[in-house]
């Protein structure tokens, strides 16, 4: 190493400066972690250093000389109905517990609602494998940002990051492996709790749509769930009523859609319900609480099957 001539001064990896002396090998291994200054996105970091870990790797190609198998042929599990309801103190998101593969029930106690950080949750419909992996990456993404920046991501930032991930799955979606998440969050910067609960929906191309009407549903049973919510849900309702309305909507979806599972009182499998409020953040409602709600919904339906 020659010393004393400034133009060949060495710079530490990742620090901007003359590229002299820096090797052109890709930034792999743990050295990459010490480079990449100012990058706060975990997903971008993974994409640059370990792309094979992404939920849908970029090389998602059809096999040569033949058609790619459809999700049905592969027997890939499919998630179904998710509902989200905005109410006076925040937002509630709930999902049934069934995953299907064609006409078969692939799993009867799958969980499709995930708490992604202290004030947000995501429900997933579509190809379960890719969707769960996407939410796992998304959860780390939010935590990573929060740790590096020292403050949580803004609610709109969170919604946009999820849109980016759905868009990243477009190649797989074109082959039938569609993932449609439903985002529910509480905007801690919004002073009015009645407006702080937010619902965001997506299309497979990564389009992001804010739902301002107070409720939304995705998945195969969503048509029936939405009809139910339209009649039952009031955004001025309290938490207890909103949880019950969510369970009613899932019951209606299960009633008319074969791919949506109703509450299973025999095996004690109840819908997953997460409430997000300013006071308590994202909380998964307990099985005991849901057992009581489900019992009263079923008792109501025994009198009048239409609800």
């Amino acid at each position: 190493m020659r010393r004393g001539t400034p133009q060949i001064m060495e710079f530490r990896e990742g620090i901007p400066g003359p590229a002299v002396g820096r090797t052109s090998r890709p930034e792999l291994g743990h050295h990459a972690a010490f480079a990449a200054l100012g990058e706060t996105s975990f997903a971008n970091y993974v994409a640059a250093t370990q792309p094979h870990l992404l939920p849908s790797p970029p090389q998602f190609d059809a096999p040569r000389g033949g058609r790619a198998p459809s999700p049905e042929q592969l027997g890939v599990p499919h998630g179904t109905t998710i509902v989200a309801l905005q109410f006076a103190e925040g937002v509630v998101i709930a999902g049934d517990r069934r995953a299907t593969a064609g006409n078969v029930i692939a799993q009867r106690d799958i969980e499709k609602i995930f708490i992604t950080d202290a004030y947000s949750a995501v429900g997933i419909a579509g190809s379960a494998g890719i969707a769960i992996e996407m939410v796992r990456l998304y959860t780390v993404e939010l935590e990573h940002y929060e740790k590096i920046e020292g403050v949580p991501m803004s609610l709109d930032g969170k919604a946009n990051r999820l849109a980016g991930m759905v868009r990243g799955n477009l190649g797989a979606a074109m082959q039938g492996f569609v993932v449609v998440p439903l985002f529910a969050g509480y905007d801690t910067e919004e002073p009015d709790p009645a407006k702080a609960g937010r619902i965001v929906t997506y299309d497979p191309t990564g389009g992001r749509y804010d739902e301002w009407l107070g409720y939304h549903a995705v998945g195969s049973g969503s048509v029936f769930a939405k009809s139910s919510l339209k009649k039952l849900h009031r955004t001025s309702a309290d938490l207890q009523t909103t949880v019950r309305t969510a369970v009613e909507a899932l019951y209606d979806a299960a009633d008319d859609d074969t791919a949506t599972g109703g509450p299973d009182t025999v095996r004690k499998i109840y819908p997953v319900v997460v409430s997000i409020t300013g006071a308590d953040g994202a909380v998964r409602r307990s099985d005991e609480e849901l057992a009581a709600v489900v019992d009263s919904v079923i008792a109501g339906r025994a009198e009048n099957p239409g609800g």
């Binding site: 001539t5 972690a33 935590e143």
Partner: protein, 260 residues
């Protein structure tokens, strides 16, 4: 044609050690200690925005002294490494021992290969299920690594602070007692940055950065303590305003190759 200067490896490493040690010794100190309910970080830090203590992962925290830009890049790298390991394996597979080793490798390699070594000293703390299982790793500018289970003092004038903390540290302290013990150390005469003022100081809430890894908290155990909750935990003498700071720049804000 110019001929390269010859300098012996021995001389080169000694020079680098001197640079690093000088940089670190100008800074303000940090005390990390294990206590009954977790691991406590107490840093003397007059900035409310630039942190010296940070969360890395569920059970792992980070504290550093020295040049801010360098410790920030090391901190970020630690979070990246931990998150990607937790994502590709499992959250349980992210251990303090692994991360401390990775840091030591990287800082050690930088010390040998780079012109300027890292002017930082870092502590990685991992909170265990019981106090006996707490692990504190200290990694110095040359990549050496030491593990402790009781306390670590890093920064400027560490000797008087270490002596004091050694006397007052006991296993089984609660949070208030542990903070008081750390403060006794940081306020000891001769512990001020720079040449070390001879008289004892009083560090108020605004001069402290306090955080814990909470043993009883599932998942992410790191928690900052500031504002009113911190004031309530401080010894009575520290609840007022901090003593005025002598006009000495810490290692974190001194220019590179700065004044003696």
């Amino acid at each position: 044609m110019t001929m390269p200067f010859y300098s012996s490896v021995d001389q080169l490493l000694r020079d680098r050690s001197e640079i690093a040690r000088k940089g670190i010794s100008r800074g303000r100190s940090v005390v990390v200690q294990s206590f009954a309910d977790g691991v406590l970080f107490v840093a003397e830090n007059h900035s409310s925005a630039l942190n010296k203590v940070s969360e890395i992962y569920d059970r792992i925290g980070f504290a550093a002294v020295g040049r801010y830009n360098e410790l920030e890049s090391l901190r970020t790298a630690g979070i990246r490494l931990a998150d990607s390991r937790g994502f590709s394996y499992d959250r349980r597979d992210v251990t303090g021992r692994w991360l401390a080793n990775t840091y030591a490798q990287f800082i050690g390699a930088a010390f040998i290969e780079q012109q300027k070594p890292y002017e930082v000293e870092i502590c990685l703390a991992e909170v265990g299920a019981t106090q006996e299982l707490d692990q504190l790793y200290r990694i110095t500018y040359d990549g050496s690594i030491l593990d402790e289970s009781s306390y670590i003092v890093m920064g400027g004038q560490t000797e008087p602070i270490s002596e004091k903390v050694k006397d007052v540290w006991t296993a089984g302290h609660d949070l208030g007692e542990a903070i008081a013990a750390a403060l006794e150390g940081l306020q000891v005469p001769g512990a001020a940055p720079g040449n070390g003022a001879a008289e004892a100081r009083v560090l108020g809430e605004s001069a402290l950065e306090v955080a814990v890894l909470d043993r009883g908290r599932p998942g992410r155990s790191f928690r900052r303590i500031k504002g009113a909750p911190l004031r309530a935990l401080l010894p009575a003498a520290n609840r007022g305003e901090a003593d005025t700071e002598p006009e000495i720049r810490g290692g974190d804000d001194a220019p590179a190759g700065g004044q003696e």
